[in-house]
Symmetry: none
Subunit: 163 residues, 2 copies
C-alpha cells in the first residue's frame, strides 16, 4: 500500500470522527432542535452530509433530543453515557486517589489525596452502589451518607478490598 493511500484512509477515517466531534461541539454550544438544523450548521462548518448520515451519527454518539421547558426541543449528550463507567475505571481512579477509608455511624469518610476527592466522588456516584443516600466532597475528603450503619460498614469493607 502506498503512502498516499494511507493518508487518504486516515483522512477518510478522521472525517467521520471530526464531524462527530463537531456535532458534539455544536450541540454543546447552541440549541440545535432538529437534524436539519444540525445539517445546516455542519455545512457552515465545512461538513457536507445528508440528514441520513446525521441520524446515524446521532445514534452512534447516543445523543438525545429533549424537550425544553418552553416546548421546543434540543439535542444533548445522553447523561447515561457517563454511567457506562466500568469497574476497571473505577478501580484505577480509586486506588490512585484514595488514602484512607473509615466510617462512623452511617457515614463513610473517604480520605483522598488533595484535589482528587471530586474525581473519586464522581466515579463513586457513577457506580450507583446500593445503600448510598448521597455524597459530598471537599478537596480531599468525601463524605458518603449511607442508609444505615450496616450499609456503611459494608461499603467500607468493599472499598478496603479494592485498595
Amino acid at each position: 500500500m502506498k503512502v498516499k493511500e494511507i493518508a487518504n484512509a486516515k483522512d477518510a477515517n478522521n472525517l467521520k470522527v471530526t464531524r462527530q466531534e463537531a456535532i458534539i461541539n455544536l450541540i454543546e454550544n447552541e440549541h440545535v432542535g432538529t437534524q436539519n438544523e444540525l445539517l445546516k450548521r455542519l455545512e457552515e462548518a465545512g461538513f457536507a452530509v445528508t440528514q441520513a448520515t446525521i441520524s446515524r451519527d446521532i445514534r452512534e454518539l447516543r445523543l438525545v433530543k429533549v424537550a425544553n421547558p418552553g416546548g421546543s426541543y434540543h439535542y444533548e449528550i445522553s447523561k447515561s453515557n457517563d454511567n457506562s463507567l466500568d469497574s476497571n475505571k473505577f478501580y484505577s481512579i480509586f486506588t490512585a486517589g484514595v488514602n484512607k477509608v473509615d466510617y462512623a455511624n452511617n457515614l463513610v469518610v473517604v480520605k483522598c489525596f488533595t484535589g482528587l476527592a471530586q474525581a473519586v466522588c464522581a466515579t463513586m456516584d457513577g457506580m450507583d452502589w446500593p445503600g448510598i443516600v448521597g455524597t459530598v466532597s471537599g478537596d480531599d475528603t468525601i463524605l458518603v451518607v449511607m442508609r444505615d450503619e450496616y450499609c456503611a460498614m459494608e461499603l467500607v469493607q468493599k472499598l478496603k478490598e479494592i485498595r
Copy 2:
C-alpha cells in the same frame, strides 16, 4: 359545585398524572423503543390514548429516546442537568435546582443539579426552618444536619411537597 363534579374533576386530573406515572414505570422496567410500543403497553395497562397524547406526555416528562449499543432505541428519563434557570420564571430556585431528597438518620441529603447546590443551600438557610442544626453543600449535594431523625423525616416531607 356539586360533590360529584369535584370527584370527576379530580379523576380527570389524575388520569393524566397516573398515566404519566405509568409511562415512567414502563420505561424504567422494560425497553420501550417507540411511542407505538408504549401505546400498546399503556392499553394493556388500561390507558387508552393515541400516539399524539403520548408524544405530548413524553415532552412533558422530558423523556428521551436513546440508542442502545445494539442499534435499537429505548426511551429513558432525561438525566439532563438543565441549568437554564433563567428560561423558566415559574419555578423557584428550589424546584429548578433540586433533583432528589432523601434522609438517613438525622441527616437530610438534597441532591441538586450540578453547580446549583450552593444556591439552593443559601435559599434553604434563609428559610430558617426548625430542627436544622447546620448545612454543608458541595457542588451538587447539600447535607443538612437535623436535630434528630424525626426532624429529618419532617424536613424531607416538606421538601417533597414543594417539588
